[in-house]
Point group: C2
Chain length 186, copies 2
């Protein structure tokens, strides 16, 4: 797997992952009906660094050949399937708050359980340090998203704030949201 | 004083207050060199309700007449000076987070000490309730901004998070930032 800066050629793959991620409405505070155009505008905003996690060819069975399906669209779809995740990194605020980074991560449903989220997060922390950020903050970690909270805690983040009933979970109703933070100086 | 929805005719007055407020760089996480165009785009964003606090004519001495200065530009400037403050109200997040409001307030330096901030905040809480928001959150209250924190606490907000060293104060260096929150259901 390789983590690299995203390009325009990744838009289809990113939109597929983005749409799939927000459709359930249980982890991100996005409208599940958000359009492709709005999603890509958000994910590629001017102040934002956008990355993708690209699997090796072997991982998605491209060596198998799939004889008879090698139309251009099938090829594009196979290329898209190599993108297993995407993340963004940007300043959480401007001016006097611009030394704190913000980031967001999405992994394709078909690529879960391969530690791609963890790999992207470690890459992200390195990138943020390289860019000179002094800390990283997640503004909106839904308290029912146990795998995410567990991962962030393992990576040195801690809960610095609890927003009471700030998320309306489609199954669980109003649930708390955490603000998570870690210094990048240590 | 009247608090009302802002219009295009208020742009000059709002920009004057906005620019003056961010120029010191000690309360808001905006680049002090933010342009008028960027500021107005932010303050009048599509999802945002924008208001102004307009003083009565008497309050700014318009009854005095100022003979000889009644050129169109002097008149416009006098009109602008009647706008003593401005605030915005919007959803803090989309989707499952859109029941929590966010707001921001700015008072003209020349109008301090007249409880205009408090009047706008009370108006804002009423508007937010009227629109059906269930809570209000301030994401970034600089811990050295004692007058603001005092006012928010008087109005029922409490500190629900502390972001360590998340603001670079021009005189005091890195200082903490508070996340403040209050329910609108009680």
């Amino acid at each position: 797997m390789k983590i690299r800066a995203a390009t325009g050629a990744d838009h289809d793959a990113i939109w597929n992952i983005f749409h799939e991620t927000i459709a359930t409405g249980d982890t991100y505070a996005f409208d599940p009906k958000m359009s492709r155009e709005e999603a890509l505008a958000y994910w590629f905003r001017a102040d934002t660094h956008t990355y993708v996690a690209e699997l090796d060819r072997q991982s998605v069975g491209e060596a198998d050949g799939f004889p008879g399906t090698a139309t251009p669209s099938a090829t594009a779809s196979k290329q898209d399937r190599r993108i297993a995740g995407t993340y963004i990194l940007r300043p959480n605020q401007s001016g006097g708050g611009s030394h704190v980074a913000n980031a967001a991560f999405m992994v394709a449903g078909s690529a879960r359980g391969q530690r791609i989220g963890r790999a992207m997060a470690e890459h992200c922390l390195d990138e943020a340090r390289r860019m000179g950020f002094r800390a990283m903050q997640f503004n909106f970690v839904v308290s029912t998203n146990a795998p995410a909270i567990h991962l962030w805690e393992q990576l040195g983040f801690r809960i610095v704030g609890t927003l009471p009933a700030a998320f309306h979970h489609p199954q669980k109703g109003y649930v708390d949201v955490y603000v998570m933070y870690r210094s990048l100086l240590t």
